[in-house]
């Protein structure tokens, strides 16, 4: 990866020098060896800060929202999940594909920074959960590419819904106690929303207690309203990058909700994976006369 890091820096320099883009979004080393954070480079000399290591976990796509009104292009380094995130924003008409320059990197799977923190530098660090389950380590869309186009990481040929099935097996009360326990912890810090490429509303309903959707008080009840509503809002749009769960400060298994939605959409309306093609019809933005009929 060191080798690729050099290529990344050179390419970044080139792009900024040639003026192919005004800003470049990538990763740089954070304060700890197990943290790499998003970097925003607008001067060729700063390109030296860019790196590519096994902690470049952050999905960068969402940061494009900050450059919507920039004249000129933004260049952004994309792994599989970042690329799907970009497609999400393109499909939601939030960014113009012509105005972004995607530099593809096939992802070996990133390490779990929390584990790394516990185990220490010379231990064998496991992959982070989102990468464990990732099925698209290679960018599904890009303009330029650095390094091998095919990731060494082996991927499951179909998504694993076993955890969802596990819950579905429980009794209603078991289910409720589990979800209530999860969302008792929720601080409603909205980190999950802020990092999510599918949460790209200009004006989020959770920010207006006036509209009466959500009270100010932090109650399990309202937390669950928040959780379910968000699951419905990203249903059929979630690009499965797992960032929401990764950034949750109280470790709520948020993907359990999103995976449930994905599974049911596949079963009810046919296999669909968001973020692969921005031209797709959205499962909840369309219908088939032949949809399953349960209402009678």
């Amino acid at each position: 990866m060191e080798q690729l890091t050099l290529q990344i820096r050179n390419m970044a320099k080139e792009i900024l020098k040639k003026g192919d883009a005004k800003v470049i979004i990538g990763w740089e080393k954070g304060n700890f060896w197990y943290v790499s954070t998003p970097a925003f480079i607008d001067k060729p000399e700063d390109a030296e800060r860019l790196i590519w290591d096994e902690y470049c976990t952050n999905n960068l796509a969402k940061y494009l929202m900050g450059y919507k009104d920039l004249e000129g292009k933004v260049a952004i380094f994309v792994k599989g999940c970042d690329a799907r995130g970009v497609n999400r924003l393109v499909q939601d008409k939030q960014i113009n594909r012509e105005k972004v320059l995607l530099i593809g990197l096939s992802c070996p799977g990133m390490k779990d920074e929390k584990k790394a923190q516990e185990l220490g530098e010379n231990a064998e660090i496991p992959l982070s959960k989102k990468c464990e389950e990732c099925r698209y380590p290679d960018p599904v869309t890009f303009d330029l590419f650095i390094g091998e186009k095919k990731s060494q990481k082996k991927v499951k040929d179909s998504k694993d819904f076993s955890q969802v099935k596990e819950i579905e097996g429980m009794t209603p009360d078991e289910k409720y106690n589990k979800s209530a326990a999860n969302y008792e912890k929720c601080l409603r810090c909205y980190a999950c929303r802020n990092v999510c490429p599918a949460c790209n509303c200009k004006d989020c309903i959770f920010d207006h207690s006036s509209k009466g959707w959500l009270g100010k008080a932090n109650t399990v009840s309202d937390n669950m309203f928040f959780a379910m509503t968000r699951a419905l809002h990203v249903a059929g749009r979630c690009i499965d990058c797992g960032e929401c769960e990764r950034v949750c400060p109280v470790n709520i298994p948020i993907m359990l909700m999103n995976n449930k939605m994905m599974q049911d959409i596949n079963n009810l309306f046919g296999e669909y994976e968001a973020g692969l093609d921005p031209e797709d019809k959205l499962p909840l933005g369309s219908f088939e006369y032949s949809d399953p009929e349960e209402f009678m």
């Binding site: 969802v164 819950i167 579905e168 209603p172 009360d173 078991e174 289910k175 409720y176 106690n177 589990k178 979800s179 209530a180 959707w213 009270g215 008080a217 109650t219 009840s221 309202d222 669950m224 309203f225 379910m228 509503t229 699951a231 419905l232 249903a235 909700m257 449930k260 939605m261 049911d264 959409i265 009810l268 309306f269 499962p283 909840l284 219908f287 006369y289 949809d291 399953p292 009929e293 349960e294 209402f295 009678m296």
Partner: protein
């Protein structure tokens, strides 16, 4: 009064979202026909079942209803041509999500009821009321400040 007295006095509270053109008219027809059914359902009129935002349902449970019925025109009969097809997709998903969170499936139901199906209104509301009564009061998703 004591807790079990409360329990005894408890009556299921059921909220019905009815589309103006089919189900609401069907309920009117049930009235004209003097078709008797349990007085537990409260009908809320919306122009189309496609207007019913799943968020309303969660809110209703938070506020303390024991069951919700969302009803509209049969597929193909929608006054607005396609509204109910979107309803169908949304609620196929919504109901699964509710169950997944631990809500008993009987508590959120959907039906297609046309303007000519007065008897169906009677039958459906009777069924649902009994199902909910059998389940007992809903405490799930309940927001305690609305304790009644």
């Amino acid at each position: 009064m004591s807790v079990n007295e409360v329990e005894q006095k408890w009556e299921p509270k059921i909220l019905v979202f009815a589309c103006n053109w089919c189900t609401y008219a069907g309920a009117d027809l049930a009235g004209l026909g003097r078709l008797q059914y349990p007085p537990n359902a409260r009908i809320l009129r919306v122009p189309c079942s496609g207007r019913v935002n799943p968020q309303f349902i969660i809110k209703a449970f938070q506020r303390g209803v024991d069951g919700v019925l969302v009803a509209g025109c049969h597929p193909g009969d929608c006054h607005y041509t396609t509204g109910n097809y979107f309803t169908r997709r949304r609620f196929l998903l919504m109901r699964r999500l509710m169950e997944y969170m631990g809500m008993e499936p009987e508590r959120l139901q959907n039906r297609w009821i046309s303007g000519s199906e007065g008897p169906k209104v009677q039958q459906v509301i009777t069924e649902i009321t009994e199902e909910i009564r059998a389940l007992g009061p809903n405490r799930k998703l309940r927001d305690d400040q609305w304790n009644n």
